[in-house]
Subunit: 170 residues, 2 copies
């Protein structure tokens, strides 16, 4: 199955000149969605890890089925003000603009091994911010899995030293 | 397993007087999360349906693993401006304030049977808005599953005529 064929490219969203990769066409096909998650599970089969973390909100869509399929817990990494208990925060740069992410202080115990899951590796800013939050809590980021990679943005440079796997490349 | 024990209650979030039900304590335990999703799958085993729809963003956390486990497609229902292709929109009242939701016009084909999944049944406003969007596209809502129900808010009254299942009641 060629997963790239299941992604819809939308011109000029959210801004003029952006060729937005729309994953909803992949998600709505049950067979394709299952195949996609199973590919992630296969990528992770030799990994020793305790938790899946996913940044809001498309990281939830990719991360929670992987957590379910691998019988691991899921840690939501959220926009400021969404998590109800005590948090730590990290500000980061986006492909367009800047943003902040938060994680619950008690989300991860020191030494726990974490896989980060998201839909998109663009500049790597969101993922690096997620890494920093996990590491500040004493967690170890043992891998990063993304559905789509925009190779021309060279996000892997920002994530040097981490094991990054992506399923679809542009 | 008593799932209610896995929920953390946070006082005065997001506003004074609210006893917020924090599901992150349930999500981060891999066995508990798996058990939870399997309970939803069991609730749905006699249902004939084509798609799972989930409202942003905790509906993604509940809905996508159910979609994966039942081999169905997932339809994200999102806050305005997040979906890149052509959408329809519905405004609705929240427990505190009001909001809008959007769905892609081509998300659902007329006659497709849809299960809505979310974390919380409070006043029912978000769920009713999601129902309206699905029905406007010609979809049939054949069931609603939520992790938590705040029975004292009587959200079921708003959802009369729909098959609503919840796993934890307050």
């Amino acid at each position: 199955m060629n997963l790239k064929d299941k992604i819809r490219v939308i011109m000029d969203f959210p801004e003029k000149g952006i060729r937005y990769k729309d994953i909803t066409t992949l998600l709505k096909d049950g067979d394709v969605f299952k195949y996609t998650i199973n590919k992630f599970v296969k990528e992770l089969e030799d990994k020793d890890f305790d938790l899946i973390a996913g940044p809001e909100s498309r990281g939830f869509i990719i991360g929670t089925p992987i957590a379910y399929a691998t019988s691991k817990g899921f840690i939501p990494v959220r926009k400021p003000g969404k998590l109800p208990a005590e948090t730590i925060q990290n500000k980061y740069d986006l492909e367009y603009g800047s943003d902040s992410l938060e994680i619950h202080k008690d989300a991860i115990k020191p030494g726990q091994k974490v896989i980060i899951a998201d839909d998109l590796l663009a500049t790597g800013g969101t993922l690096l911010s997620t890494i920093k939050l996990i590491e500040k809590l004493g967690g170890e980021v043992v891998g990063i899995v993304c559905l789509i990679e925009l190779t021309y943005l060279q996000g892997r440079d920002l994530l040097k030293g981490y094991d990054v796997k992506t399923l679809i490349q542009y």
